[in-house]
């Protein structure tokens, strides 16, 4: 059966991205393998270390940065991660100096917020409300 084992974000600097995604967001490094001029660099959630890996992929392709700039200007997140409590997580991340373009917002069935990953992307964090 086909399944999703890796997804990716385009980052402007892999070392900076690894620091942000681990030290701030709280992921842990999974794979770090030299690959050409870059690295096959992935992180996972400590809640699911054998689960889906997030690839921190260099954005060197000439089309990548104009794309990132255009969607970021409109506040559109590149991807979304799940948290238990958006309000608490935003407090924690702001304490670490993380910038948000959208404060925690009640969107009906879900609460969301949007942060700047410092690597050229906006990232949504979301929590479904209890049914």
């Amino acid at each position: 059966m086909i399944r999703i084992n890796v997804t990716s974000v385009f980052v402007d600097d892999q070392a900076k991205a690894l620091a942000f995604y681990t030290d701030k967001l709280g992921f842990i490094k999974k794979n770090d393998v030299p690959l050409g001029e870059a690295r096959w660099l992935t992180v996972v959630s400590p809640a699911d270390p054998d689960g889906v890996e997030l690839l921190l992929e260099p954005d060197g392709h000439p089309a990548a940065r104009p794309f990132k700039d255009a969607i970021a200007a409109d506040g559109i997140p590149y991807t979304s991660f799940a948290v238990d409590d958006v309000f608490a997580e935003v407090e924690r991340l702001k304490g670490l100096g993380v910038t948000f373009t959208q404060e925690p917002t009640d969107m009906g069935p879900v609460v969301t917020a949007v942060l700047d990953d410092t690597c050229g992307n906006l990232i949504q964090i979301a929590a479904m409300k209890p049914a």
């Binding site: 200007a73 409109d74 559109i76 997140p77 404060e103 969107m107 009906g108």
Partner: protein, 95 residues
């Protein structure tokens, strides 16, 4: 002729009025946040492009201002143009 035609045109659309409601609730929103609120809270099925055009109409009437901060563009509510309505038809004429 009507000097505030842009203002009344801008206000004469339900989606644009909901945009003003949401900016009134939380000022300074990205296009993404506005679209999310309209879709999730108000069942507005418009495309992002259509919402962007609504915002342009509101901006043309002076009811919305945009501000660039770093790489991001935020939309702010400006109710100042509404004063023209109250001045044209004052609320209290009992004097």
């Amino acid at each position: 002729m009507d000097s505030n035609a842009d203002l009344f045109k801008a206000l004469g659309d339900a989606t644009r009025r909901v945009i003003l409601d949401e900016l009134s609730a939380q000022d300074g929103q990205t296009l993404f946040e506005i679209c999310g609120r309209l879709a999730m809270k108000h069942d507005v099925a418009s495309t992002r492009q259509a919402i962007s055009q609504h915002l342009a109409v509101l901006e043309g009437a002076g009811l919305v201002h945009t501000r660039r901060q770093g790489r991001y563009k935020y939309h702010h509510l400006d109710t100042a143009p509404l004063r023209a309505i109250a001045e044209r038809w004052p609320l209290d004429r009992r004097e």
